[in-house]
């Protein structure tokens, strides 16, 4: 059953952008851990995530090693594709991470770079029409892992873990004091607000990426669904007549999706750096306190 037929059969465009389990195991941990009473051991989206991880781990280290020469200066100059990777890395380091993380930039930059390239690779792989052709081979692989709320929430929770753990490690009492920015008697009000703020940051981080990646793919599925709906209602001629504008619109939306893949990876990375910086950089407040003290 092809993409169009399956789309028509399912009657919902959402079917084609959500996860399709390939291997599950019964396990009931309750909502939200196992809503269906089973745990996913393998799915189409997980396969794509593994492919993304494999590509990053295997391809990227080889690409970045290309240098102009082996002498003192040549080894500092990247060559070929390494230029592309290094310019992205340098941009993220200087323009995204450093304004937030300041002196801690190089301490966290590996995490920042990993987040960006991991999300970007998954986003871009999700644009490949593998899911549309895989049913011909009797399976269902493809899809965008970042269109799965559990994936984006895990990445966001990792960021929260980095924020809290490094905030406590580097700031100690400074970090804890951040949860009560006002006078102590306001702590019962401020601490819950700050905790809710922390949770909201993580929630926004997870939902923003998930919703954007999910929406683009649903939009494409809806557009393609128009052809089949028109074909069913008006016959082959009607379907073909609708197909032309729909395909043109789909191409345009796919172009937009490529941009969105980069944009969402950037936004997730930017917010990760920003939130991390808010947790580990304290000296602005110290200067402020000193200024007030004087």
């Amino acid at each position: 059953m092809g993409f169009g037929q399956s789309l028509l059969a399912s009657g919902s465009p959402v079917d084609h952008v959500v996860q399709h389990q390939l291997w599950t195991m019964p396990l009931d941990l309750g909502f939200p851990f196992t809503p269906k009473g089973e745990i996913t051991l393998l799915s189409d989206q997980l396969v794509m995530m593994m492919v993304a991880g494999f590509l990053l781990v295997v391809v990227l280290p080889g690409l970045i090693r290309k240098r102009r020469g082996s002498d003192e200066i040549g080894c500092l100059v990247p060559s070929g594709f390494a230029n592309f990777i290094e310019s992205i890395c340098q941009y993220l380091r200087k323009e995204v991470a450093e304004p937030s993380l300041q002196e801690h930039t190089d301490r966290f930059i590996k995490y920042i770079w990993s987040v960006f390239f991991f999300v970007l690779t998954i986003n871009l792989l999700g644009l490949l029409p593998i899911a549309a052709i895989s049913p011909f081979f009797g399976t269902h692989i493809g899809g965008t892992s970042t269109g799965n709320i559990y994936v984006t929430t895990t990445l966001a929770l990792l960021t929260m873990f980095m924020m809290v753990a490094n905030g406590l490690r580097l700031g100690g009492m400074h970090y804890i004091a951040h949860f009560c920015p006002g006078p102590l008697w306001l702590a019962p009000l401020l601490v819950p607000v700050e905790l809710i703020g922390l949770a909201a940051k993580i929630f926004a981080l997870a939902v923003r990426l998930f919703a954007n990646m999910m929406a683009g793919h649903i939009l494409l599925a809806v557009l393609v669904g128009f052809i089949l709906t028109a074909g069913t209602a008006m016959g082959t001629g009607g379907g073909l007549a609708i197909a032309v504008p729909v395909i043109l619109a789909s191409v345009a939306i796919t172009m937009l999706e490529i941009f969105v893949a980069f944009l969402q990876a950037f936004i997730f990375t930017f917010l990760t750096a920003l939130f991390l910086g808010m947790s580990v950089v304290f000296h602005h407040d110290d200067h402020g306190a000193e200024a007030h003290g004087h």
Partner: protein
């Protein structure tokens, strides 16, 4: 914005399906802890491997390049400052050398003037001395010549007188007559 609206629309359309408990393929929130665990494992693996084999070398190269550029700029700045200092020093030395050269030339000119004047003076003095000596020698020669003329004239006169008077004169007569003749001759010459 459009995408958010579409998401809302789709979620709105699928809400009845979700609410009906048919959480199969149409649930956009489909997933479970398995997805989270796999995400955690794969991401941590990517972080560790790339951290060691990709991000480490890139960060190292970026830091080295930054340091190299910083050092190069610092060296260029200090080299420029040194060059400017050397230039101003050289300019000062050149000015000093010019002044010294001018002073030396001026001093040389003055010395030459002094030497010229001294040479002129010496030459003049020497010439004067030579002239004076020549004068003295001429005067002495003149006196000697005159004396000789006197002596010769006296002798001639004596000889002539002897012949005239035919008398042999003694030596004392000669002396006396000669002296008288010279005195007469001198007196005539003075007058």
């Amino acid at each position: 914005m459009t995408k958010t609206l579409v998401t809302a629309l789709v979620l709105g359309m699928t809400a009845p399906v979700l609410a009906s408990g048919d959480g199969g393929g149409s649930n956009p929130f489909a997933g479970d802890i398995g997805n989270a665990l796999w995400t955690l494992i794969i991401f941590v693996l990517v972080l560790v491997v790339l951290g060691k084999f990709a991000w480490g070398p890139i960060l190292d190269a970026l830091q080295k390049r930054e340091q190299f550029i910083h050092d190069s700029l610092s060296e260029a700045k200090s080299a420029r400052e040194s060059a400017e200092a050397a230039m101003s020093e050289h300019t000062a030395q050149l000015e000093k050398a010019k002044a010294e050269a001018t002073a030396i030339v001026e001093e040389g000119r003055r010395d030459a003037e002094v030497v010229r004047a001294k040479i002129e003076q010496d030459a003049k003095a020497e010439a004067d001395k030579l002239i004076e000596r020549a004068r003295r020698e001429i005067s002495l020669a003149t006196e000697a010549a005159v004396g000789e003329i006197y002596s010769l004239s006296g002798k001639l006169a004596t000889d002539v007188a002897s012949r005239v008077i035919g008398k042999e004169l003694t030596g004392a007569d000669h002396e006396r007559l000669l002296g008288e003749a010279i005195n007469d001759f001198k007196a005539v010459q003075r007058n």
